[in-house]
Amino acid sequence: MTKFEYAPAPESRAVVDLKPSYGLFINGQFVDGTGTSFKTISPATEEVLAEVAEASAADVDAAVKAARAAYTRVWSKLSGADRGKYLFRIARILQERAREFAVLETLDNGKPIKESRDVDVPIAAAHFFYHAGWADKLDYASLGPNPRPHGVVGQIIPWNFPMLMLAWKIAPALATGNTVVLKPAETTPLTALLFAEVCQQADLPPGVVNVVTGAGVTGQAIVDHPGIDKIAFTGSTGVGKAIARAIAGTPKKATLELGGKAANIIFDDAPIDQAVEGIINGIFFNQGHVCCAGSRLLVQESIADEVDRRLKRRLQTLRVGDPLDKNTDVGAINSRAQLDRITSLVAAGEAEGAERWDTGCPLPEKGFWFRPTVFTGVSQTHRIAQEEIFGPVVSVLTFRTPSEAVAKANNTPYGLSAGIWTEKGSRILWMADQMRAGVVWANTFNKFDPTSPFGGYKESGYGREGGRHGLAAYVTTGEGA
């Protein structure tokens, strides 16, 4: 029988109006930075998308001062109901401009349009809608007596979910009455700058949200700035520890959402076809650029061969390529630096004796790409079983008993997430209890919702984002003995 090929189904770029260069968003205006500028590129084509200002320490200082003035003069004096109405406005504008955000996100980040369109942008809007409703109900949130905002919050977000992480950070901060200085990642600044336009359209008071673009130096300037009351960071465990050290002994608070090395555990009674889909969603969603990715697959020994066979067969149907194509399953690796990290860890996996397999699919000539890859014969001490690869690479280990699965799953300094696949209800509940991880997905994986708290145990960081729990990080309360 003839095999039918997919016809190209590209999403139009016309909806996006790219400017040749972007400034910083400080006090409600786009201003030129005093530092240098850098280029942001499309990782799928290496095409330069725009020049972006790199915020200097002086620029960060201006942003913090604008945020402080906005906090003192305007935002802290508004009623919760009025703060909420601004957030509702922002949510609505994000919904109205959803396609524009999705296309821009895919251009700048390299993720498939079907993910930016169906996951990142709608959930970002949902976060604003959800938190808008909290703004005038904080006294009912069981946060403690008299919840009050910290003041000015510094927020530093990663490149894997630029718009979604922005929403996770800004929505609760504003709902609780704080003002914000936000730094998007240096490889994905564009949707944050488009969000600044949304703030203007919503008539958000100037200085309530400030966006400073740049790399690590800019982030450090935010962390070190004495006018910052709280840091919210999502990124690597290494940088998270550096932030924790930097603020030690100061009044600054922090929430840290860091790395992970999640176990996705498949028992022999699991619905295998669903589990295979869950494995793929767990590690190949967003090219594996996911802190909670199911990067360690733990398969019960009796079904290991079958899972291996079905997984590899299914992986060969994944479509890797143009992120703007609506049929694409796996897009581009976000940057050359990340591609180099993935390549070097994969080489370490081979050197340490694990068996590497990939789909052998064709890859575009330009841009940064990595084929979906499976390692079998992995032992717990291998680097690919311990270190976060942050790419489309899954390491397969086996186990015999539930207790062994628990021991292996928890054998990591991380503790962000875990997956459990079994038809046995009591085993799901027992396993969920045993996992030292902040999010446990049973017979599903990589689900996110504004009402559902997300965050890690151990070296995956502290604090939660989303739900009633996420509000706690943004308020201070009267305390007892």
Binding site: K241, A244, G249, L258, A432, G438, K447, T451, S452, Y462
Partner: protein
């Protein structure tokens, strides 16, 4: 002729046993007027590390006990303290220089604090957790769990009420504790250890190490198998707590900072109503998803 009193040797409380310091050291403890009271064990780095091992060993079992059971055990501590109240009052009076009425009030408050926290054992989960109404066909629930092993620098001034106020909220949720007691006022802590040992608190759940917090705290702050640290006890000491917080970042311990007033660490007013904050400091929220379907 009056009888010659039998004096007690004061030791550490680790893993449910009362060992001497492995270092063989002791130090003189005086009352509030400077008169010799006893020789207490001068805990060492290794004693602190042994206590962490004991706390880790006990943690899963204690967290796995039912909330009802933990509540009864904490209540039992209050019962046992009540029956030794006269001894506690005398020791708090000697340690803190309080008059008998105020010493008795402090002991009463300490006993009542166990009762307060005992009642929380099977309630904080409901208060702090719950079902999340996600936009999809999923059952989604969040619940708090203990973070694990918690190192506690107990307050220097309030030798019993302060100590109980920092230890009870750690263990009520299923954490285990390694406590460095008040350096100059350790005697009520050792008597508390005797109450704990006879209250069905499993060995290793609370470990009390007497000695100098400046000596032991850095090792607890940097210890890789400690999940959280309470720095309350740095108030009124020369300990640079910022250094402890910095060391704690090595494995991202949860840090409960001391109470800061006008830029300095101060000991809280332990007579205030405790609230939930100390329980919450040593909890992790776990969120579980499962699809719904026919």
């Amino acid at each position: 002729m009056s009888r010659v009193e039998v004096k007690k040797t004061y030791k550490l409380y680790v893993g449910g046993a009362f060992p001497r310091s492995e270092s063989g050291r002791s130090y003189e403890v005086a009352d509030s007027k400077g008169r010799f009271l006893a020789n207490a064990a001068l805990g060492s780095r290794k004693d602190a590390r042994d206590a962490v091992v004991a706390a880790r060993k006990a943690q899963a079992g204690w967290a796995g006990a039912t909330a009802y059971n933990r509540g009864q055990v904490l209540y039992r501590v209050a019962e046992v303290m009540e029956s030794r109240k006269a001894q506690f009052v005398e020791e708090v009076r000697a340690a803190e220089g309080l008059n008998p009425t105020r010493a008795a009030a402090a002991v009463d408050a300490a006993i009542d604090r166990w009762v307060w926290y005992a009642g929380w054992s099977d309630k904080f989960t409901q208060v702090l957790g719950g079902l999340n109404p996600v936009a999809g066909p999923y059952f989604n629930i969040s619940a708090p769990e203990p973070t694990g092993v918690v190192a506690v620098l107990a307050p220097q001034s309030s030798s019993l009420l302060g100590l109980v106020s920092v230890v009870a909220p750690v263990i009520v949720s299923g954490n285990t504790a390694v406590v460095v007691t008040s350096f100059n006022r350790p005697i009520p802590a050792i008597t508390l250890a005797e109450a704990l040992a006879t209250s069905d608190v499993p060995g290793g759940v609370v470990n009390l190490v007497t000695g100098n917090p400046a000596e032991m705290a850095p090792w607890l702050a940097s210890h890789r198998d400690v999940n959280a640290i309470d720095l309350t006890g740095v108030a009124d000491t020369d300990i640079a707590w910022a250094e402890l917080e910095r060391a704690a970042a090595d494995n991202l311990k949860r840090v409960r900072r001391p109470l800061i007033v006008d830029g300095s660490a101060v000991e809280p007013d332990w007579t205030l109503s405790p609230g939930l904050s100390r329980i919450e400091s040593y909890l992790e929220t776990k969120t579980v998803w499962h699809p719904k379907g026919k």
